[in-house]
Symmetry: C3
Subunit: 139 residues, 3 copies
């Protein structure tokens, strides 16, 4: 059994979903592991991770429309406002989605379904540089 880890940086340019399945696949291929378990951790509390449909871009826009309505920027409910109107909503969105994902892989291929992609969900409007830790264990 072997393991590997790698930090991956993703530059975001505003709120929304950023697919990085290809980057994850490329890194996993480089480890030369056959079967095992891949784990991803986003190292921030105002961005999150999601596995979502990678076919129709409208799905991602609808998802964002839903979260924008569910957790409105500038909601008077929130008192943590010093870092901007979108900061506390970003923390809530992160709580409602995922900070980490674990995905088994078989013969070097992620066990994702045909329509599943791996996304960073950026919840802040300003440009950010997000850090994701990748970890693979297997043989």
């Amino acid at each position: 059994m072997y393991q590997h880890h790698q930090e991956l940086a993703i530059a975001t340019r505003g709120r929304g979903l950023y697919e990085f399945t290809a980057e994850v696949r490329a890194w996993l291929a480089g480890t030369q592991l056959g079967d095992g378990l891949l784990t991803l951790l986003v190292r921030h509390t105002s961005a999150s991770l999601l596995i979502q449909e990678n076919a129709d871009l409208e799905v991602q826009r609808d998802l964002e429309r839903f979260f924008a309505r569910l957790v409105p920027d500038g909601d008077p409910l929130f008192r943590h406002v010093s870092e901007g109107k979108d900061d506390m909503p970003a923390h809530v969105r992160a709580a409602l989605t995922q900070t980490h994902l674990s995905i088994p892989f078989v013969r070097g291929e992620l066990a994702l379904g045909t329509w599943q992609g791996i996304y960073l969900y950026e919840h802040r409007h300003d440009a950010q540089r997000r850090s994701i830790m990748l970890h693979a264990i297997g043989a």
Copy 2:
């Protein structure tokens, strides 16, 4: 250290929670692993996974009532409507719940609490055949 994986298929007959703890336990017993980590991945974006109470069936019905109100079928907010009124709500429900679960096991037994069961949460109304990848690593 050893690892095992297996694809598990679950037939669903409409929206709702389908417990499959027994199937997971049976597969894990067959691996003959003692201590380790089990991971489950649902390979779809309109169904998800949940650990929930397995005692009172009303809990599952209330959970469904909550999600039906939070993410209504046919919500005019959504533009991705070509695959049916329940398709985009299914993606949102999947984002709000889990695509994967990881559960430690000790001496061959899942470390679940007394009242915890493993559920597939089907979000589409039509019958589906869902694929779940099981992975166990341990010794």
Copy 3:
């Protein structure tokens, strides 16, 4: 490759977030593992786990304000009411957050970001004793 597991008990005194990052770090240090994967599972369906900001306490209070509005205690939608007005909301809150977390570690340090802490999210008002299973695999 080696693995370790440990049950951790946390006493809660009402609804809210309880940070236990220090306890997790202390246990991990005791395993003397360098690189690997840590998994935490909360063994209850009315409490959950979250990675959240550990800087401003107001973030945790705002998060609770949000969930209290989204899933109100005593909501007439719910029929599972025999265990109290906060019981079914607790199950829904658990479904919307996490029952487990997996966090890679590198050279004995959790790969968390600077502002990330590990929290037990207690959803019941009464005092509880919560059990969390810790599992680490690595070398």
